[in-house]
Symmetry: C2
Subunit: 266 residues, 2 copies
């Protein structure tokens, strides 16, 4: 149940309906699973109302906390309280400007019947690009800001999922190649967790690409039992496996020295 | 679909399982509805992993942003990665200490069979109080910090709901008496939203207890149509109703001056 050790991602959900409890936030779970599978560490989720200042705060916070990727959902439609793009422009300190590509697509969708609220969907923060929405009308938005890749998607699940799968996912695969994961599960008997903890800490220093999670499993025949879950990520499967082996051997040696018995059980 | 204008509340959800998309966050929606009904403005939700530093960040952020009430869910159990209490203590800069009341309850629940991980559930930040859990074993936690009331609840929905309804809700009713809500819906024809907006802004200045939300409804017979939703909160129903009347009359007069037709439709 651990997070991956990949680059940081933050999720932002925009919408009063989520905060007053009218709608359950399934989008966040869906995106969390997708980004985790793509090798990202989804470090936080921010849920904010349809208010530009709070939306701006959410984007600034995610980026300032080191997110490499930020995906937002909601607030992209034509109505008055769709304010995600305005909030992002505010955070970035740039103007909204009419994007010709976005306008062209919207014009086609509405067969030329443009109203002010429809044109609104073609106004993007300076420097941003529209993402084609294969299901609905509001385009998604893509922009880079302070080294982070931001993707703004609509809140309607079918539209959000379609844009993610058709555009964002392939893009993220190119951006940050899918990390290969390798793992091992160790059963450690005979040392309490408090003694194993410093060894685990040392093991984590062997590589930033390795994560060791400790799960106390009570005691057997009077001796404490721990499970250690070792995970490594790398661009190449073989290197990930080598990292796991290195860390497992380190843990075995150090824990044996403390009098523990270490078995690889997975 | 507007937020209320009451005191600010923030929700914090702790758990890797939410961020990797293994679990959909129904707790946040349930609490959002409850707090909204109690007259709070639920201004934000923060979802963080089972990591003390990030949990600490979430509590600090909620309180620094002016929350009067913060409710967290998750991370209160006996296992190694239940870290909400540790994270809160870190944020507050206080030590964890064994709470006698909490220990007594846990001892009773386990019929005296205390283990280290069970005792862990009785360790609270200095100054905090346990809240009885009528369904499970991990007690809730209550503490005041920088003028905010913090309630830490377990992540298991049945336990979270039971503690909220038996303890937190009555407490919040005493703390912040249930605001009475009064509302009106106006149909405004003949002015575009861009002209109505400054009038709405002026109307909002009449009282901090009033909220006006504008919904553009397209056009009828060639003239633009808006709906204005006026909501007021007060401790007394009559005063809330009077506030709404005052604001509605103000809007009618000002919008009539701009050539609009205003009908009360709800």
């Amino acid at each position: 149940m651990g997070l991956t050790v990949g680059p940081k991602a933050y999720l932002i959900s925009v919408g009063n309906e989520l905060l007053i409890g009218k709608v359950v936030n399934t989008n966040l779970a869906w995106l969390g699973r997708k980004l985790t599978d793509l090798g990202y560490r989804v470090e936080g989720g921010l849920i904010v109302p349809d208010e530009p200042d709070l939306i701006a705060w959410a984007f600034s916070t995610a980026v300032d906390r080191g997110a490499r990727v930020v995906v937002s959902t909601g607030g992209l439609g034509p109505t008055f309280d769709d304010m995600t793009v305005e909030g992002l422009a505010k955070a970035m300190g740039v103007e909204l400007e009419l994007n010709d590509d976005a306008l062209k697509v919207i014009k086609e969708k509405y067969r030329g019947d443009l109203t002010e609220s429809r044109v609104k969907m073609a106004k993007l923060p300076k420097g941003a690009k529209p993402i084609y929405n294969p299901v609905g009308t509001a385009p998604g938005v893509e922009v880079e800001w302070k080294g982070a890749h931001l993707f703004l998607l609509p809140g309607v699940p079918a539209e959000m999922e379609a844009i993610f799968e058709s555009y964002v996912e392939p893009k993220l695969r190119k951006l940050e190649p899918l990390k290969c994961r390798s793992e091992a599960l160790l059963k450690v008997s005979g040392v309490p967790e408090s003694l194993a903890a410093p060894v685990i800490k040392e093991a984590l220093k062997l590589s930033e690409k390795v994560y060791v999670k400790s799960h106390p499993k009570g005691s057997e025949l009077g001796v404490p039992v721990l499970e250690l879950h070792v995970t490594a990520f790398d661009d190449e499967r073989e290197r990930a496996a080598t990292l796991v082996t290195t860390v497992v051997q380190f843990l075995e040696r150090k824990l044996n020295n403390l009098g523990a018995r270490v078995q690889r059980i997975g």
